[in-house]
């Protein structure tokens, strides 16, 4: 019997979400989610953000609308998600079936000294997403539930929102390329083919 209060480990969660990822497209929010996605393996189908805090969910929407036959996963943090809560309303209205947003919620601003975020005081992101109109929205506390989120994402049963409660552990940084031009060009070339280099 596992301890129900035990928190998940962030890289286990991301590793499970990206298991056998196939041609999944991934946007990673700035900070630790970027390092977590990179720790699972650098991949041209990843777009890891190094800045533009608040961008991840809406980049996921624009990408999901542009590539309706591909599955899009946004992995971001609670601090980043809190900065752009309005995007949950916009995504709910647009209802993209191929978009999943997984928020790794350690209740901390991890990059800046582990200050408490609003979720540490009980702000319920999953309930906010649900209230915005994202019908599949959950707080995730077990690896079994992470696998369920993975299945929903890969089956295109979105939009899906998951607030994954994780341990506020500080892990070694695993950095992807930092040059936005390289990240953009290789992502587009991977998704669109060589033609992307000419347009």
């Amino acid at each position: 019997m596992t301890n129900p209060n035990a928190l998940l480990h962030r890289r286990d969660v991301v590793g499970e979400l990206l298991r056998d990822r196939g041609d999944l497209l991934v946007i990673a929010g700035l900070g630790a989610p970027n390092w977590d996605v990179s720790a699972a393996g650098d991949n041209p189908n990843n777009f890891p953000l190094w800045g533009a805090m608040g961008a991840a969910s809406m980049m996921g929407l624009g990408l999901a609308l542009a590539q309706p036959k591909r599955k899009v996963l946004v992995v971001t943090g609670d601090g980043e998600m809190l900065m752009n809560l309005g995007s949950l309303a916009t995504i709910a209205v647009e209802r993209p079936p191929n978009l999943t947003i997984a928020v790794l919620d350690n209740e901390r601003f991890g990059e800046t000294g582990m200050q408490r975020t609003h979720t540490a005081s009980g702000v319920d992101l999953a309930a906010m997403a649900l209230a915005a109109g994202i019908r599949t929205s959950r707080v995730v506390r077990t690896m079994e539930q992470v696998t369920e989120i993975r299945d929903l994402a890969y089956q295109g049963k979105g939009p899906v929102f998951a607030q994954v409660k994780i341990n506020p552990e500080a892990l070694v940084f695993v950095l992807p390329p930092a040059d936005g031009v390289i990240l953009t060009a290789r992502f587009r070339q991977s998704v669109l083919g060589d033609e992307a280099l000419y347009n």
């Binding site: 608040g54 624009g62 999901a64 309005g86 916009t90 209205v93 587009r188």
Partner: protein, 187 residues
């Protein structure tokens, strides 16, 4: 003075430049339209909403649109962001994204706090719009006559999509006609 400003617009037929802008944006292969509406954009928005090939996304704040169109570009679609000058202030840090990634971003900005403005609260952002955009690396052009709007949008669209840069067209209040809510209010 307010009457002098408003009368020519009331007497004029509806402007046709939004139709020309719609045609130009279609030729530029725009597929996603992010917008926080403004009266000056209403005719263009109606045209896109009637177009089954275009996805019109209403945003809760303009910076969402900057991020959305970055995602669209990653997925191979072009877009346009429609907003009022006050919304430019909501985008400042997010404009890092197209700048650092060399992504196209086309912004059409209807001006407030500009020619004939009646509302003092519109002045700070309206007067700061041009400088704020340029400070973030956006290439800014401006149209202050109705017959100049379409060609200015054409130039900015080509610049943005051919050179992978953020570009904004400021559509001056002189094109749009200055509002005056005071005429609608009882004092």
């Amino acid at each position: 003075m307010a009457d002098l400003a408003a009368r020519p617009n009331q007497a004029s037929p509806p402007p046709t430049w939004p139709d020309d802008v719609y045609r130009i944006l279609k030729e530029a292969d725009v597929k996603q339209v992010g917008m926080v509406p403004d009266a000056g954009h209403s005719r263009l928005i109606r045209a896109f909403e009637a177009d089954p090939e275009t996805r019109v996304v209403t945003l809760t704040t303009e910076e969402e649109g900057v991020a959305m169109l970055a995602g669209a570009w990653l997925g191979g679609q072009r877009g346009v962001l429609l907003m009022q000058s006050s919304g430019v202030g909501n985008c400042i840090n997010m404009l890092s994204l197209p700048a650092i990634c060399h992504m196209p971003l086309l912004m059409l900005v209807t001006m407030r706090g500009d020619w004939g403005e009646f509302n003092p609260w519109q002045i700070p952002m309206g007067q700061g719009t041009h400088a704020a955009l340029e400070a973030m690396g956006v290439i800014v052009t401006r149209a202050d006559e109705p017959h100049l709007v379409a060609q200015t949008v054409w130039g900015a669209a080509n610049l943005a999509f051919n050179t992978w840069r953020p570009a904004a067209v400021l559509i001056g209040q002189r094109v749009l006609g200055a509002k005056n809510f005071k005429e609608l209010a009882r004092k």
